[in-house]
Amino acid sequence: MNDEMAKLMVVFRTAPYGSIYSFEGLENVLIMGAYDQDVSVLFIDDGVFAIKKGMDNSGTGIKDFSPTFRALEAYDIEKIFIDRTSMESRGLTKDDLVIDAELIESDAVEKMMEEQKNFFMF
């Protein structure tokens, strides 16, 4: 990492499938991975549902994009955070998730946003 890199973040806050926001958030992270910047990813609120294990789209035919989250490491995107309270209040534990994410407390979220050059809400 060097000073030329911009700190950028994608925040996932909506549930997957009901709307396209979550899918497009992931598309963005993947593109950002190609730009050699200091990229991080944060899951809050219903955004945590995007990385739930065990999705099966055989009944709907809607593209299941959860496996693609596992590709983030290959794109050198390793700063992945999840709001502990959002996860726990939705009945989830880290074992329920397709990727490993670092738990943070809610009062750290705004500060993390402030530290970015820019961030996206999806």
Partner: protein
């Protein structure tokens, strides 16, 4: 039963269109009659033949057209909603007809059940 269906949101952005398609298939499989599907508000965007989703994704317009032509179902695209959103008969796909809002009232008069797929 005689069903009327209304689709109020755009394809891909919301799940409404997907749910409506699965519901229509299940209703037809049970032998129910779908009198008409009325595409309203952003739902009119389901009708465009210019839609080109990624190759690994579903093609929502083609899914509709297949259901409509195989089962001879009337798909009405609300004219005022369509014009506002850049949908006209140069872009509507096979099986979709542009029509007036009165056809939604008529559907409410004739259908045993009306089901709205919305945001």
């Amino acid at each position: 039963m005689k069903l009327g269906m209304i689709v109020m949101e755009s394809p891909y952005q919301h799940e409404a269109s997907d749910s409506a398609i699965q519901f229509a298939k299940a209703a037809l499989a049970k032998g129910h009659e779908i009198l008409r599907v009325f595409f309203y508000q952003d739902g009119v965007l389901n009708s465009t033949k210019l839609m080109e989703p990624q190759s690994d994704d579903r093609h929502i317009q083609k899914q509709w057209t297949a259901i409509g032509t195989e089962n001879n179902i009337e798909f009405i695209v609300c004219v005022a909603a369509a014009k506002r959103r850049g949908i006209n008969d140069t872009v509507t796909a096979e099986g979709f007809t542009i029509g007036g809002l009165g056809m939604l009232t008529e559907l409410a008069i004739e259908a045993d059940r009306l089901v709205e797929f919305r945001a």
